[in-house]
């Protein structure tokens, strides 16, 4: 099984530690993982802003980079969701279809494809899970609070197996953090208010570290936490799953 590591643009540029943790974790799990050169972006910021027509070039680059792999795995539910959901704007060649079908968010890949939930990690902290919307409602990484389906959560299955980790429950289990890509700047007031409210929920429930499978949400929350000097850290779930004492 040949796996292509997809590192979203903002993680590559701003959060290399998340990419490193993802790579190391996959290697630890015995995955034959490659990082194709020349990756740019899935095109989501353009699509969500109404300019999906201008994103065709980046979609093509993506497919070109990953067409030879059995699976494409990335540490971002949102970007993977975009590939699966919105790459319908380019011609659906067998290569495009293959890439879209085989693109996986990291946690889902580990649980569903590798069939593992206990990764031998250890992280003795009180952790709050931010269930990012595109991973949750888009990729169905877990059950949603609005739907009456049997409860499950891919990320919780992984976190509950981390030694010493205490998963704190939140008052609002899956409310949006307000990042929303360009929404975060064009609807700045609401975006910030939503983020603050999410953070307060974690603080009220004694969380020390906020984690999630989408670092864009975490970047937004981290920006607020750092500005307001709040006693919280954010870490991508890959960093937690890759940590040991």
């Amino acid at each position: 099984m040949k796996v292509g590591l997809f590192i979203p643009c903002y993680i590559n540029q701003l959060y290399p530690q998340v990419a490193i943790a993802t790579l190391e974790l996959l290697e630890k799990l015995g995955v034959d993982v490659y990082y194709p050169k020349g990756q740019t972006c899935c095109g989501q910021p353009l699509g969500n802003s109404g300019y999906e027509g201008d994103a065709k070039g980046s979609c093509q680059v993506f497919v070109e980079n990953f067409k030879e792999y059995d699976y494409i795995v990335g540490p971002s539910g949102s970007c993977i969701y975009h590939v699966k959901k919105h790459f319908d704007i380019i011609e659906q060649t067998p290569e495009v279809i293959k890439v879209r079908n085989n693109a996986y968010e990291l946690c889902e890949f580990i649980v569903k494809i590798l069939g593992k939930t206990d990764l031998g990690a250890s992280f003795p902290h009180k952790v709050g899970l931010h269930k990012s919307c595109h991973g949750l409602r888009g990729l169905h990484l877990g059950s949603c609070s609005e739907r009456m389906d049997p409860p499950f959560s891919t990320e919780e299955d992984l976190l509950n197996n981390v030694k010493g980790l205490e998963l704190m429950s939140l008052t609002r289990k899956d409310e949006c953090c307000g990042f929303g890509g360009t929404f975060s700047v064009f609807e700045e007031a609401i975006s910030v208010k939503m983020g603050r409210d999410r953070i307060q929920d974690h603080l009220d429930n004694n969380v020390e570290v906020i984690t999630g499978a989408d670092h864009s949400c975490l970047m937004h929350l981290e920006g607020l936490i750092n500005r307001n000097k709040q006693p919280l850290r954010v870490m991508h779930i890959a960093e937690i799953l890759n940590s040991s004492i």
């Binding site: 109404g50 070039g57 980046s58 009456m148 949006c176 890509g181 609807e187």
Partner: protein, 454 residues
């Protein structure tokens, strides 16, 4: 004003935002609890959605069937292609009956058609009898929510309003006292009304009857007392069979307020002896929306308001920020179909979190339609030049890996070495309340080149 500008103003009073958010979240939770008690909830949603899709695919046939059956029952049917015709039809019915006083129960369609100002200009007294609508009417406002029209007002604000308009005593916002006072006042209006106007929740093709759901019984009180009952309905209110009510009534009340059933689900099948009953069937842009394949399913809507209660943006921006008759997520996919330029900011008033689509009892893919409207709006409505240029340039940079590599490195260099006061300038909306991420010495590409040799 755009939704973002209005929402920014609403957010100046954080305590009020918190209160508004919590009040609506409470309704959302009530809905969750009520839905959890129905084992087949998701199945009911599938059924309701399929029935609505069937209705829309054969709407003309169902409407004609409905009309024929209603006529057989002695109901008078009127067809209105737009708001103007709707108002004129109602105006004529009132003239024919020498009516001077009208009581209305809740109808978002008459709001959409701006019926009240039309009738008032004719010298007719119109009283909204739904308590929430009555409150916004005397405050000279519009509903901020389709089920909870006065949800933007605290009970203390209602107290003041009633002191001014009903002469009530200060009560510190005592809901029981205020409701009783409103009831007493409205009772007089009911008794003197010449005509009662109601909305329609469901129009049943195979019986020609309509169903109106209220919690206050005001639709019944109005229509039983007045000699003339006029019901206004959009063409999409049709359901094929009476038996389908079992699906829709269960979904509607639970989705709207978390009740197992609305207090009154009133069936109107024919006029009472010696009285008149009229139904005005209104298009007003609906067939145009029906013709848009991507947006057709927006006409499934049964006006439960659940998408508003769950929407984290609606809860924190208030209904009036949408400047549309129907606010919130569903309004943001309906309104652009009516006036794309006026409502062009609405599809962007969303993070596309998808919660609206998940709560929707008739499974409208609201967040997907928001995404689709965005694609249309940037083409058809003039966009701010800076926003447009940035995104267009980004598109071409992201299509060229080498250019992207250079741009990424340059941006990180700039962010790392530019003085803070320049980065956190007025132009940086991100940085107003948030820090930017700390810039590391290398990106992942650089790290990988050094640390992995594959």
């Amino acid at each position: 004003m755009s939704h973002a500008e209005k929402a920014t103003i609403f957010n100046k009073n954080e305590a009020k935002v918190n209160w508004h958010d919590k009040a609506l979240w409470y309704v959302r939770e009530k809905r969750d609890n009520a839905a959890h008690n129905v084992k087949e909830w998701e199945y009911l949603r599938d059924l309701a959605s399929a029935i609505k899709a069937n209705v829309l695919s054969d709407l003309d046939t169902y409407l004609v069937e409905f009309e024929a059956n209603a006529l057989k029952n002695g109901i008078k049917i009127h067809w209105a292609s737009d708001a103007e015709e709707h108002n004129a039809i109602i105006g004529k019915i009132l003239d024919d009956n020498n009516a001077e006083k009208v009581v209305k129960s809740k109808s978002m369609l008459t709001e959409e058609c701006h019926l009240n100002p039309y009738l008032e200009a004719k010298g007719i007294e119109v009283v909204d009898t739904d308590l929430g609508e009555y409150i916004v009417q005397i405050a000279k406002e519009t509903p901020s929510h389709i089920v909870l029209p006065a949800i933007h007002k605290t009970k203390e604000e209602v107290d003041e309003l009633f002191q001014e308009h009903l002469g009530t005593k200060p009560s510190n916002g005592n809901p029981e006292y205020l409701t009783n006072e409103a009831r007493k006042h409205l009772r007089g209006k009911f008794l003197k009304a010449d005509v009662a106007i109601t909305g329609v929740n469901f129009a049943i093709a195979d019986t020609g009857g309509i169903v109106v759901c209220t919690n206050e019984g005001n639709a019944d009180m109005g229509s039983h007392l007045a000699n003339v009952h006029i019901a206004s309905m959009g063409i999409e209110k049709i359901i094929p069979k009476e038996a389908h009510l079992g699906i829709f009534l269960r979904l509607l009340a639970r989705s709207a307020t978390g009740q197992p059933i609305t207090t009154y689900s009133s069936h109107f099948n024919k006029p009472a002896e010696g009285k008149e009953m009229h139904i005005v069937i209104v298009d007003n842009g609906r067939t145009e929306q029906l013709s848009r394949e991507d947006f057709r399913a927006s006409l499934h809507c049964i006006r439960c308001g659940a998408c508003m209660n769950t929407c984290p943006i609606y809860r924190r921006s208030g209904g009036h920020s949408y400047e549309a008759t129907i606010p919130g997520p569903i309004g943001s996919i309906l309104s652009p179909g009516k006036d794309l330029t006026k409502h062009s900011s609405l599809p962007f008033a969303s993070t596309l979190c998808g919660s609206c689509s998940n709560v929707c009892p008739v499974k409208i893919n609201i967040h997907e339609q928001l995404y689709k409207w965005r694609q249309i709006i940037v083409k058809d409505v003039k966009q701010p030049i800076v926003k447009k240029s940035i995104l267009k340039i980004a598109g071409s940079v992201l299509a060229k890996p080498k250019l992207y590599d250079f741009a990424g490195k340059s941006a990180r260099f700039m962010l790392k070495y530019t003085p803070r006061f320049m980065i956190y300038s007025k132009l940086n909306a991100w940085g107003k309340a948030r820090e930017l991420p700390e810039i590391k010495n290398e990106n992942f590409d650089q790290w990988y080149k050094i640390n992995r040799k594959k």
